[in-house]
Symmetry: C2
Subunit: 357 residues, 2 copies
């Protein structure tokens, strides 16, 4: 049986569950390799692993699953009510994903599968996804490499007079034509005073000399995400921004130096927060988040005590925002190791000045 399902079965066993209904397509992708755009449900029962889908996807699924997966695909049209009732026969406690499954679906599951104890699993698969396997690290590394290359391309592409939308569009085009399936989230290109909004949407604002431009972007490779931010400058770095850029960069690097197995996310956050405060600024969002099949996933690098472990992949992304004026954010995707952190996005973080004509 595939290793990830084997591990899930072990974890289910530990919490006294005899089976689980896996509905979240990202969790199904994680466990089976079945792309998350395919509609279906994965049943972990005490007899077998079942994937119920419909005929539209049969061909694609047969290309993805191997005999070693030990997953039996069914077309829902071939199943009658008795088949469903039999699936979890002799299963006492069966888990479901309470943060993904709608209330209506929950009731349907109870009714269709005739499950007595359909129980919340509190993100059991999301917890398993926190520590990345070598093949997962490879995919994220690939996505980060494409992101670095895209950044190099975009620094040669940007010119005074272009709009934020044009730049965002070029980034997405680069990704899709250079080995990535897609962007991992809607690209942020925020120039001039727009950069003061952490979650800006690209506008028709034209790039001007002296603009800071915050670019927050990433792509997907084989389902896995990358995430990187740089604030770059057009023609020159305004004197007023320099101290803030330097402060953000200093803290981004300090955090990076401190990330390793058993580093506490609360301490990391407080370290940055207090240095910002000493200098008269605040840290308005969390320092980082896990990256994997989801662009935002566990662990969340925030103010709760939480110890990082080897082979977690997280972002390190402090930022300072002065409303109506400008903002600076610098972000890398990093791999947590025993004694240090390895940057997976490797682009330059010193002042980057765009001078293209």
């Amino acid at each position: 049986m595939n290793e990830k399902i084997k591990e899930l079965r072990k974890r289910l066993n530990e919490i006294d569950m005899d089976g689980m209904i896996v509905s979240n397509p990202i969790n199904i992708r994680y466990l089976t390799g079945i792309d998350s755009d395919i509609e279906g449900v994965l049943l972990i029962t005490n007899k077998e692993n079942i994937y119920i889908t419909d005929a539209r996807y049969t061909e694609r699924i047969n290309r993805i699953l191997t005999i070693d997966d030990e997953i039996n695909p069914y077309d829902f049209k071939d199943l009658d009510p008795i088949d469903y009732e039999n699936m979890f026969m002799f299963c006492n406690n069966v888990g479901f994903e309470e943060n993904y499954v709608t209330y209506a679906k929950y009731k349907e599951y109870k009714q269709v599968y005739k499950i007595n104890n359909l129980l919340e699993t509190d993100g059991i698969i999301e917890a398993q996804r926190i520590i990345k396997e070598p093949d997962e690290i490879n995919c994220i590394q690939r996505a980060c490499k494409i992101t670095d290359e895209c950044f190099e391309h975009i620094c040669k592409f940007i010119k005074v007079g272009m709009t934020e939308k044009e730049i965002a569009f070029e980034i997405e085009k680069y990704f899709k034509t250079h080995g990535a399936e897609d962007v991992s989230f809607d690209t942020i290109v925020a120039s001039g005073s727009n950069s003061s909004m952490p979650h800006a949407v690209p506008t028709d604002r034209k790039i001007e000399e002296g603009d800071p431009i915050t670019i927050d972007f990433g792509c997907k490779y084989n389902g896995y995400c990358s995430d990187m931010t740089r604030t770059i400058f057009v023609k020159y770095v305004p004197e007023g921004i320099k101290p803030i850029y330097n402060l953000v960069l200093k803290n981004q690097k300090l955090a990076l130096d401190a990330i390793r197995e058993n580093a506490n996310t609360r301490i990391l956050t407080m370290m940055v927060e207090s240095d910002f405060k000493v200098n008269g600024f605040t840290l308005d969002h969390s320092l980082g988040h896990g990256v994997g099949l989801d662009i935002h996933e566990r662990p969340f690098v925030g103010k709760k005590d939480y110890l990082l472990k080897e082979n977690m992949i997280i972002t390190d992304e402090p930022g300072i925002y002065l409303p109506g004026k400008f903002g600076v954010r610098i972000e890398d995707t990093v791999l947590v190791k025993k004694d240090n952190a390895i940057r997976l996005t490797e682009s330059n973080k010193d002042y980057i000045i765009i001078n293209n004509e």
Copy 2:
């Protein structure tokens, strides 16, 4: 008060509900005009209409809501537990969207709002959305027009040697630079044998002479969707495909001729299904679906008895798929009228042969 909320209140009253929690961003967009990327929840209470969001969105929401909407926006940071408890005070039955709200969220609502009877509403807003208002029809018509123009562009763009991904990308670029906000769903470009998969994802496969290419695409205008499919040919139409193309086209047109007020979706479906069967093929997916703020919404044009009504907007999209060989699908978005159907997508449906060098 805005007319759509007034109508919803009337419908809630009919089923003996004193209030409702509206969580689905598409339903909130329908009722209030608040864009569906904005995070918030709309409360219909017996005293007022409340929209709870956070400070990030205040500026945008103030631009959207007018005094006539009679909706009071709140920043969730300004609310304490007592405020939540007061919102549905003296409300006995309060509805929620059981097909949108997760099981975990349902439990949270019960706890936070202290509601005794938190009840399923069985798609009360989705039912209201089925019949389109004139302003909604205008938006879908606009989206369909951009789609027709995009199709004309793409027929001049495609060349032998291009990949499916490149074509899909050009479609998305066209939409975003010609007045549409976005695609209404991930564009399907499926060439050669890939066209045998109804829900194919664009690949790096290069277009060859003699390929059929199924393109299923649409865009959003002011939140409203369009949906169109054509199967086109490169250089020539292979003889083996002709009878299947003709059969699909014949049935797409027959269905179109039959669509009008009081047409039964079951009869429409059976008509196509039986003609396919007589010729040795099957109809593997439903004949169509409603189109509006969602790309797939009510009514579903399937095998259940259901009478169409004036000003519904649906698709008409029969298809035949021969696994490993090829597939043909032809789809229009159409407006149901008293005595006929009006095509909103108007592109040519005869053999379209790409000859660009």
